[in-house]
């Protein structure tokens, strides 16, 4: 393992982690395949990319900092509504809209992080749930702003970079979502493979010991929570811009639960877990609802049960074990 070889130097250890592995390069090249192999599926692909980004943002707090959040969709929703409202009030330029929405989500994340950092275990989980539910109720009541249950109307996204129109086939949507996902991923990867990332993992494993060696636990939690909120906001804004619709379901409990399932399915704390989990879940859901529209969730349930039994710690967690067992003669 890399650890034993590089015990002398934390810098070397981090460097070894941040080297690009061939599997990673293959993964990112594969994300370009849909343009060629499945041009009719690009709308789905763009929504998978958005879900992957959302799951990645949850991974930062859940997989790396150990905060189980049942209300993460709140930030997704804030990003979505911000982007929608900005467009509705006349400014439909996607990139600047994206930036502003990210800021909005990040600010709310920063504000709530002060409360979040003070609690742990079940109380923390329920607080995140409570905040998420409160925000959803608020959005429903503020129908004059959010459009209530009918959703926000009148969103129109202008051409991307002044050139590319968001059309029926979803080509621009997928390219846009994929590009944003990739850049955000690069940044996240850098963050995780840094001393800060190591500190987070330390906090997750042993809170007391980290404080004992002088790490500012609460401040770190606040920082990562704010970043995760901002990233979730990016995902929400992307969805609003590419589909030109926003409604209450983007904030709801179902969406928080869904992203949690996706992340855990893929394997939390492994950077690619959210991406893999989101892809598997959304493709499975799409295919199952095509085959058995009335009972697709039966098959999803069975899938989840099998994954947990056969692949503990998610797909990325269990896959190395499974492959090793296969190889054993």
């Amino acid at each position: 393992m890399a650890l034993t070889q590089n015990l002398q130097s934390p810098q070397l250890y981090l460097q070894s982690l941040s080297r690009w592995r061939p599997a990673e390069i293959a993964f990112w090249l594969a994300t370009l395949l849909p343009f060629v192999l499945a041009p009719n599926y690009l709308s789905l692909a763009s929504q998978i990319a958005i879900a992957a980004l959302f799951a990645l943002s949850l991974d930062l707090i859940l997989g790396y900092a150990g905060i189980v959040s049942l209300g993460h969709a709140a930030f997704f929703g804030i990003g979505a509504y911000s982007a929608g409202l900005i467009s509705r009030f006349g400014w439909g330029e996607p990139l600047t809209g994206l930036l502003l929405s990210t800021l909005a989500a990040g600010l709310v994340g920063y504000a709530t992080s002060f409360i979040i950092a003070r609690f742990r275990h079940l109380a923390l989980i329920m607080l995140t749930l409570g905040f998420g539910l409160l925000l959803a109720e608020l959005a429903n009541s503020a129908g004059w702003l959010t459009g209530g249950i009918d959703g926000l109307q009148g969103i129109h996204t202008w051409r991307l970079l002044g050139l590319f129109n968001f059309g029926l086939f979803g080509t621009t949507a997928y390219a846009y979502a994929l590009a944003v996902l990739f850049f955000v991923f690069l940044g996240t990867r850098r963050l995780i493979h840094s001393p800060f990332g190591l500190a987070l993992r330390g906090i997750r494993e042993n809170w007391v010991r980290m404080s004992a060696i002088g790490a500012p636990n609460r401040a770190h939690i606040r920082t990562i929570y704010t970043i995760a909120a901002a990233l979730a906001g990016i995902a929400g804004a992307l969805l609003a811009q590419t589909t030109e619709t926003v409604s209450l379901d983007s904030l709801g409990f179902e969406r928080s639960a869904e992203v949690l399932v996706m992340l855990v399915l893929g394997g939390a704390g492994r950077l690619y877990g959210g991406l893999v989990g989101a892809t598997i879940f959304m493709v499975a859901r799409d295919q199952f609802s095509g085959i058995a529209p009335e009972y697709w969730y039966f098959w999803i349930g069975i899938l989840l049960i099998f994954v947990v039994i056969l692949l503990p710690n998610g797909v990325l967690g269990g896959l190395p074990n499974l492959i090793a067992r296969w190889r054993r003669p």
């Binding site: 249950i149 589909t243 697709w296």
Partner: protein
């Protein structure tokens, strides 16, 4: 493991390969088949399928194929994506279904952009129809029903003071607005109102507040499902005498399941509807019988929305001589008139919305069973402006 992989690839391939059959008219139905709205979606699909079964699956020499997609509840981005996929991947000629307004609004964008005929079989908010010039509606609109109820309450039922209690969400607020407009226009006075939480179905406090003000009529709008039963029980428990205070609302509060759940506590509740399975007409009797034979339960207004929607598609195709592009179909659909299990209906050529009879009913015991008995009929009601 390898087997699962191969199976997965095979599945993907099967889904990607385009469907054959040149002369097919594909109808893509976007409905909820899972989640809390699953029942409405199922009923709508059943109604549509029954029509195809009864009238054969060939129109003007072309075969009708229904492709049902589950949107899973209120989910506009998914509804839009499904609409896009139905248009680009499956090449549907008609977008249909839409049990929920937000989904209909999102899909309307696709109908507009792709110039595809769209049959809205349920979404009842008034503005939906304006979102695409290729859309027709075969269900009803909230004002069509509730404004009529408001007018009737003041003029015919002697209700001068009313209290409104609606669930705090879009359709609830819509219904309240529509009722108040009709009620006040006839001279009635709305003495108070309350918005009820959508999620938690415990109505005691709200009913008590209504009782405190002692109005002559109470107008209610709550989503169907579990709530009407709970509401009816709250009325009984708080001691609201339905003979003295008229409790009125939209048909969901006295649907089959709500009545079974409320029992005799429901006697006297007044509702407005465009369809009920107990509506007396030869066509409806046959429809209900056939529906029961096929699906083992009674149809509701979602079923009839689906049934009439399919009829509209067939009739429009015939009138357009088999042409399936959006412009031909919408031109053919405007002004169509026919007899539905609910009564005579037609499509308004100006607004593309539905014109139909509106019935005021009261819950009474007939032959030992609780039914909605029609006490007034308003003919050919348009969607009020």
């Amino acid at each position: 493991m390898k087997r699962i992989l191969y199976a997965g690839v095979a599945l993907l391939a099967a889904a990607v390969l385009p469907a054959q059959a040149a002369d097919t008219v594909k109808v893509g139905m976007i409905i909820s088949l899972s989640g809390q709205f699953a029942d409405t979606g199922m009923q709508m699909l059943n109604g549509a399928k029954l029509y195809v079964k009864q009238h054969g699956d060939t129109v003007t020499g072309k075969k009708i194929e229904i492709i049902a997609k589950d949107v899973g509840g209120i989910n506009p981005p998914v509804a839009k994506r499904l609409a896009q996929e139905l248009v680009t991947r499956d090449n549907v000629d008609v977008l249909a279904g839409f049990d929920l307004t937000p989904n209909a609004l999102a899909a309307a964008d696709v109908s507009l952009e792709a110039k595809r005929f769209m049959v809205n079989m349920n979404a009842a908010t008034a503005i939906v129809i304006e979102k695409s010039p290729y859309m027709v509606r075969t269900s009803m609109t909230v004002p069509q029903l509730n404004t009529t109820l408001g007018t009737w309450a003041e003029k015919n039922a002697g209700v001068k003071k009313a209290y409104t209690m609606v669930a705090d969400f879009g359709p609830g607020l819509d219904a309240e607005g529509a009722f108040s407009r009709g009620f006040k226009a006839s001279g009635g006075d709305v003495v108070g109102s309350v918005r009820m939480a959508v999620a938690n179905p415990d109505f005691s406090s709200y009913v008590q507040r209504a009782k405190d003000l002692n109005p002559e009529g109470i107008f209610v709008m709550i989503p169907g499902g579990a709530m009407p039963g709970a509401f009816g029980k709250a009325l009984a428990e708080r001691g609201i005498d339905l003979k003295k205070t008229k409790v009125m609302g939209q048909m969901e509060i006295t649907d089959e399941h709500a009545l079974a759940s409320m029992g005799d506590a429901a006697l006297g509740i007044i509702t407005v509807a465009h369809y009920d399975y107990t509506h007396e007409s030869k066509m409806n009797d046959a429809f209900v019988k056939a529906y029961n034979a096929e699906y083992g339960r009674n149809p509701d207004f979602f079923s009839v929305g689906g049934y009439d929607g399919m009829h509209l598609i067939y009739a429009a195709l015939e009138k357009a001589n088999g042409k399936t592009d959006g412009d031909s179909l919408i031109a053919a659909a405007k002004g169509l008139k026919w007899e539905s299990p609910r009564g005579p209906i037609s499509i308004d050529p100006e607004t593309r919305d539905i014109i139909q009879n509106v019935y005021i009913r009261r819950v009474e015991k007939v032959g030992g069973k609780l039914v909605n008995v029609e006490i007034a009929t308003f003919d050919n009601v348009k969607n009020p402006k």
